[in-house]
């Protein structure tokens, strides 16, 4: 059975989506989504443990040996991301029903779950595959479904946000496709391992250089890396809460993983970081991202928008880590991928509860939250501390690893930027906490708020709790990130 797990964890959510649509019942759709995500999570965990003990797993779809068919290759790097994505999907499944009931027209709920299944399928497919074109196919699945997930936001701006995302996302997808096509033109193959084997002979080839450029820019759009981030803030801020939780925690991370896979698993570090000046470029972009994202977040007046802009900044840390292209840098990137996914997922879950209770996520409306909803407030506080990178949170672990990697690379200016953007994070988190804790609520707000539904609280605490445990008991996560980085660099034992 374990031999088929690589495909099952993608195929089960895929099978779940049409079932949701066929059954046309919101409740049944929720169960299906829950089961599919739990199944995917379970498979991912089994895969991760199997990879850790027995080394990479290969799976030939259709039993056509690569490069003739499509292969799935699970190693420590993508097992890491698979566990993360499917785990967040489970949390989203627990979180979703009450939040969806409050935000979405009941007749569309079953379609919404189908879309969530599809989005999960797409993201897992991107991560698991060992075939370059297959990445594009699943990228399209995840993108299309996330446009739909976002467009259903409560306010009319959600449509506009989804449309902007669609325009930019399509551009990104097309660039990726062009890049893959160019790489195919000079090699004649689409299998990642095969490509990796054939490309080193072609360093300096202009077609290949352009391919690297197209893939990088395309995935940078998908990952909302700084100058190409314009779609992210409104998309995540306007999305329905459940989609916000899922997408904010996974969407950009998977795009970054895809870039890592293309850079290290296909084009090769020698080309991307040796032959081309990508390393310097990525460091500049990442540094700009973490400063700009955090700075703009300080000026937002809406909780979800602060969180979304903060994501733009936090992506910068990951990008800087991968730009170092070293063992330490990559494991820092993986650490931050997981840390930020958990923290931001938890914070968006919190924001969703706030939206449910208060009907808005504007900062001013949060006054008195600490007394009216202490549990929600504490989650917000703990998540916020994680964003700042206060010690004993997961955010600190990853930032520490990043700083160590930067020291090793002698990038002192970037270290300064990391510290500065942590201070900016303190400012925007501090604003939220200050209003929620110390400002007295307006007198009218005494009208009864709906209480926090238990499943939503469970999901929120699950994400925040795991991030805290990961911050305190950091060694396993750190080991997994190190193994993931080693797998990408090809230095795994």
């Amino acid at each position: 059975m374990i031999a088929h797990l690589p495909i099952l964890q993608v195929a089960l959510p895929l099978l779940a989506a049409p079932l949701c649509v066929l059954l046309r019942s919101a409740r049944a759709a929720w169960w299906i989504y829950l089961l599919a995500s739990v199944a995917a999570f379970g498979s991912a965990l089994l895969l991760a443990s199997s990879v850790a003990t027995h080394g990479p797993l290969h799976y030939a779809v259709g039993n056509w040996a690569p490069p003739f068919g499509i292969a799935y290759v699970i190693d420590a790097a993508n097992a890491f991301v698979l566990v993360l994505v499917s785990g967040i999907a489970v949390a989203t499944a627990i979180y979703a029903p009450r939040s969806i009931a409050a935000e979405i027209d009941p007749q569309r709920v079953y379609l919404y779950y189908a879309c969530l299944c599809l989005c999960l399928t797409g993201l897992l497919g991107i991560v698991a595959t060992g075939d370059a074109f297959n990445v594009f196919v699943f990228l399209e699945i995840s993108s299309l479904s996330s446009y739909a997930l976002i467009a259903l936001g409560k306010r009319r701006q959600a449509l506009l946000a989804a449309f902007r995302y669609l325009v930019m996302g399509t551009l990104g997808g097309t660039f990726v496709l062009i890049g893959i096509g160019l790489a195919y033109a000079v090699t004649g193959t689409l299998n990642m391992a095969d490509l990796a084997q054939r490309l080193p002979a072609l360093y300096g080839n202009r077609t290949l250089t352009a391919a690297v450029g197209f893939v990088s820019v395309g995935l940078a759009i998908k990952a909302a890396v700084f100058p190409l981030h314009a779609w992210l803030p409104s998309a995540y801020a306007e999305a329905p809460s459940a989609a916000g939780v899922f997408l904010s925690a996974t969407g950009t991370k998977v795009a970054i993983y895809a870039f890592l896979r293309f850079a290290f698993g296909i084009f090769g570090a020698g080309l991307v970081f040796g032959h081309l000046p990508m390393s310097a470029l990525i460091l500049i972009v990442g540094t700009a991202a973490m400063l700009a994202g955090a700075a703009i977040a300080c000026y937002q007046d809406d909780l979800k928008r602060i969180l979304a802009w903060s994501s733009v900044g936090q992506i910068g840390y990951i990008v800087v880590g991968l730009g170092l292209a070293s063992q330490q840098g990559l494991s820092a990137a993986f650490l931050h991928i997981s840390a930020h996914a958990l923290i931001k997922g938890g914070l968006f879950a919190t924001a969703g509860i706030v939206a449910l209770r208060l009907g808005t996520t504007r900062i001013d409306a949060l006054a008195g939250l600490a007394r009216s909803a202490p549990a929600v407030f504490v989650a917000l506080l703990l998540g916020g501390l994680g964003l700042i990178g206060v010690p004993l949170t997961a955010g600190f672990v990853s930032k520490w690893a990043l700083v160590m990697a930067l020291i090793e690379a002698d990038q002192w200016a970037v270290i300064a930027a990391v510290l500065l953007s942590s201070l900016l994070a303190l400012v925007y988190v501090g604003r939220i906490i200050e209003v929620a804790w110390f400002r007295e609520p307006p007198l009218l707000a005494d009208t009864a708020q709906p209480s926090t539904p238990a499943p939503m609280a469970l999901a929120m605490w699950g994400l925040v709790g795991v991030s805290l445990v990961a911050g305190v008991y950091a060694a396993p996560l750190s080991r997994a990130a190190t193994a993931a980085a080693a797998a990408l660099l090809g230095t795994a034992p």
């Binding site: 088929h4 495909i7 195929a11 895929l14 099978l15 989506a17 049409p18 079932l19 949701c20 649509v21 066929l22 046309r24 799976y59 030939a60 779809v61 259709g62 039993n63 056509w64 490069p67 003739f68 068919g69 499509i70 027209d105 007749q107 569309r108 379609l111 919404y112 189908a114 879309c115 599809l118 399928t121 497919g125 075939d131 074109f133 297959n134 196919v137 699943f138 399209e140 699945i141 299309l144 479904s145 446009y147 739909a148 467009a151 259903l152 160019l182 195919y184 033109a185 000079v186 090699t187 004649g188 193959t189 054939r198 080839n205 202009r206 077609t207 290949l208 250089t209 352009a210 450029g213």
Partner: protein, 335 residues
């Protein structure tokens, strides 16, 4: 220079002219028609490059279906683009020029077109597809072999993309907002039954419809031997029904194929495709390994598998296209 090169040059010139026209026009109807023309020209170029299956798809989807959907959308909106200040388009133009520049840069090192010694031609992949697919799969059309079997998983993914698009549209447009149900039924946008005295249209459409549907079935099942397959067949099938809807009215079309049925067919196709995959898993093979479908004759198993998955593709594409059309057409314009 042989004649094909001249044809290429002419076609590319038309393509470029169409693109420029598309970018410049403010008439959205004209833009819709021009984009159809663009697709048709592209299809011609694909034919010249011997990519008949691709040309087929491009013609059916790009020139046919997309144009119909554009027109359907236009019926819901104004037919003139809002005039935007020209400076707004400068960044976009820069991006386009830059992208084009990079592509040209890339093409300078590209293997020469149609040469025999390109990496693509020399890779074992191509050799195996061309030489062994007949024995391994036994389907004369190599494209179908690659699409449905060697890279059948990609095709499953593409089917899911169509499925995703369909449910996305259904989710966004599927039902009017609950508030509108109380209002008087808005005028439906596109197909009002054409007047009864317009017999020519009705008679000719009636005459043609069986042939269109028959042709769709032919394309569906002939995909093993010639250009065709589920995608193209689905689009043709849907076009036939859309023609019916256009001439005889949406209600008549709904009576023929009800939206409820469509809502079941869209997932059904994906389910068939994925179901084949799970069936092969249960039979002890890998996912989508059709060989195990027939324990005695793997080639027959391949045939059966390809038939089934193409059927799944056809069902999903037909239903998805029709659903898109229904969703657009049924939206009120009473705003």
């Amino acid at each position: 220079m042989n004649g094909f090169v001249w044809i290429d040059i002419v076609l590319f010139t038309i393509l470029a002219a169409t693109a420029v026209g598309l970018a410049r026009t403010r008439q959205l109807f004209a833009a819709a028609m021009l984009s159809g023309l663009f697709s048709l020209t592209s299809a011609c170029i694909f034919v010249l490059q011997d990519a008949v299956d691709v040309a087929f798809t491009e013609a059916a989807v790009g020139a046919g279906m997309t144009t119909v959907l554009f027109l359907g959308t236009l019926a819901l909106t104004r037919s003139r683009e809002k005039v935007t200040p020209p400076r707004r388009s400068i960044p976009a133009a820069l991006i386009a020029i830059f992208t084009g520049g990079v592509l040209i840069y890339a093409s300078t090192d590209m293997p020469p077109f149609a040469a025999a010694d390109t990496p693509v031609q020399q890779h074992p992949l191509t050799q195996r597809f061309l030489d062994d697919s007949m024995t391994e799969i036994g389907v004369p059309n190599v494209v179908t072999s690659v699409l449905a079997s060697y890279r059948g998983y990609d095709t499953l993914g593409e089917t899911v993309v169509v499925f995703t698009a369909a449910i996305a549209v259904l989710m966004l447009l599927g039902r009017g907002r609950p508030a509108t149900s109380a209002e008087p039924k808005p005028r439906e946008a596109l197909p009002q039954p054409i007047q009864h005295d317009q017999r020519v249209l009705r008679v000719v459409s009636k005459l043609m419809l069986p042939f269109i549907l028959l042709f769709a079935l032919y394309v569906q099942f002939h995909g093993d031997y010639g250009p065709g397959g589920g995608f193209q067949a689905g689009v043709i099938f849907a076009s036939g029904l859309i023609l019916y809807a256009l001439v005889f009215g949406l209600d008549a079309a709904r009576a023929a194929v009800s939206p409820a049925a469509l809502r079941r067919m869209v997932p059904l196709g994906v389910l068939i495709y994925a179901g084949v995959g799970f069936a092969t898993l249960l039979l002890g093979g890998a996912f989508l390994d059709y060989n195990v479908l027939d324990a005695h004759d793997p080639a027959h198993g391949q045939h059966l598998g390809i038939l089934l998955v193409e059927l799944g593709v056809g069902i999903t594409v037909t239903a998805a296209m029709l659903m898109l059309f229904y969703s657009f057409a049924a939206r009120g314009v009473g705003r």
